[in-house]
Amino acid sequence: MSYTAFQALVRRDLRLFFLDKRAVTMSFVAPIAIASFFGYIFGGVTQDSPPSKIKVAIVNQDDNEISRKVVAVLAGDAALDVTPRALAEARELVRGGKITVAAVIPSRFAERAGKSLFRSGDKPEIQLLYDPSHATEVQVVRGVLMQHVMEVVSRETLGGPGSQRLVDDAMRDLDKSGMKPADQAALRRMLQGVGEWNQRQNANPQGQANSGFSMPYTVGQEAVTARRGVKYNSMAHSFAGMCVQFILFMGIDAGMVVLNQRRTGLWKRLQAAPLSRYTMIGSRAASAAIVAMVIMLTVFSFARLVFGVRIEGSFAGFLGVCVAFAIMTAMFGLLVAVLGKTPEATRGIAILVTLILVMLGGSWVPAFIFPQWLQNVSFAVPTRWAVDGLDAMVWRGSGFNAAVGPIGALLAFAAGFGAIAVWRFRWETEA
């Protein structure tokens, strides 16, 4: 192999890449911009910033003390952005996508809910009108609503100003209930106890706050990251994902260069010279790998400086994953050059394949949200190993051992792609 020629060809490729404004923009600016955007919407730099609230309209058709308290408590919930609306207006807002969920509190809600605490029967129904494109958020609203309604209704029933009347009504209804006498007696004793409790609580207004049901537990949360005290930075995953995506795009361009060189006669010049085929395609692969490394290091340096993304795990492992992915990208580029006939026809197909690889690899959204079968399938694409490897080294804080698997898998893919490229490469130039 002629090292003078090899070096010259690599230098040529690097120079052409950095002279190409479109390529530089796509390789450096685009991943940084899109990763920043994705990182921001998925939580930003830390979890301290409040999450966006779910827009909820409340239609209160009861207009009772208790239902007004329910509305007030819901309005105070950190997860919800509550506004009172009329039914027709709320329905229209949900249909138009302006509001995610509308909760309709029916008339006689407080009265029926209070009685239903002690026995089944005439339970009031809170109707949820929701935007079907936000089905997940409906579940959140449902849970929040259940918690607050239970707390308010039980507190009002067991200790509020109207509670004695509710207890009296309930005891009166007992006579008509058709229950067994023994059961009636037991329930009556409980209601009398509740009445007595209400009188004691009413005598001590401060105690009212403690009456009623409340959640029997509290929840403590800890995001398990590289180590205690290190907050999760969602920028880390999005930068890894976008890095992988746009470096693969660069790999396609590297393949396109070979196809364009065939078209412009430059490939003929190389073939006419005493160069081995390995010098010709090896230099192409080497330059693509170098560009890939430069892109990765630049993009992660930006993430470090601007968003504080740190390599919390093994730095050697991080570099290892980067190098393996760069080599894999170079071989992917050669594969594109081999399988493509013309630059125009090849680009579209190559971009489609890349987008599928990127999607399956978890570059856009983490792979764990995929169905299990798809998660299993995703291990068959190199991007999954690249994203997992980078995640492990960057924010999970894993050691070098965790990088060995991804590095090995990426190099295996590179070897496979490279073997196919050498096997199928059209060494002859058609006249």
């Binding site: 060809l9 190389l270 002859e428 006249a431």
Partner: protein, 357 residues
Amino acid sequence: MGGAWASAGQRPFAVAPQCRGAAAPYGRDAISFRNATAPVRVYSGDMLEVKGLHKRYGYLVAVEEVSFVARPGEMVGLLGPNGAGKTTTVSMIAGLLAPDRGEVRIEGGVVRGETDPVKMRLGLVPQEVALHDELSARENLALFGAIYNMRGAALANAMEAAFDVAGLTDRAKDRVGTFSGGMKRRLNLAAAMLHGPRILLLDEPTVGVDPQSRNQIFSSLEELKRQGKTLVYTTHYMEEAERLCDRIIIIDHGKVIANDTLAAVRRLVPSVNVIEIGVENPGRDGWLSGLRVLEGVSAAEWDGSTLRVTVRDLLESSPRVLVWLRERDYACTYLTSQRADLETVFLTLTGRSVRNA
């Protein structure tokens, strides 16, 4: 075959001193037009020997048993219409394509493998402008020198000489993308000469070139010939071949149909003359079929403005042609005649015009 190197000879070509010696084993003949007093080395045999080249693509035979030789200081023209097999032949000589049969010998040696140093003796000027538009002319030449293992002072001197030949010294730092078509063609040629090849393969090097650049390229090629380089020149411009080539090889449908010196090829149709007639109101398709069967007429071609009629005897056949036109009310605007040129030779040998083939 059987050639040998001599210390001086009848076909001298200059050797750039900066490229001689062990440091640049394949660059000893790097081009230097300004070094006319440099030492001279001569190879007395056939510089290039092509024997029975054959190439087939599926059912299509692109090149069939093509053979010829080219000597130092000789320019061989491969003539033929598009698709005749000229580029395929050149591609096989340059090692871009493997022939199905036949062989190519360069100074008596067969090229063995991609990295065979024998390839250093070849320079290829592709039909396309094979340059990087994004790079400067200097960067382009530096790259093409480096792929022939040239570097340092040898490369710098060869580049300087190449720019001089191409008339682009003052544009060396400019991006090739800013060059005119003619300037690009000249640089395309300079890039192939940079490493001092003894054989230059030129595949239609003047396509799309303005007259000024064309003349400059011709001058460069004539200078290379004087220096003892062997040139193989493919074209479908007959007038170029007539001006430049010592030996003419006419190829049609992949076969060699004539292979001799220009004078000898002309003698293949010794009594042929051509009458050119301007016709104002030509007929529809097939209007010349009656003319072609007139006694003494070998061929008749209409190129859209001029009728070219090939006749064996000018005095006897011309009146017959004019009468034929007048009887059919074709209006003639002018009449000229000329001796057989290569276009006529091709027309006579194949029955078709080289441009319409």
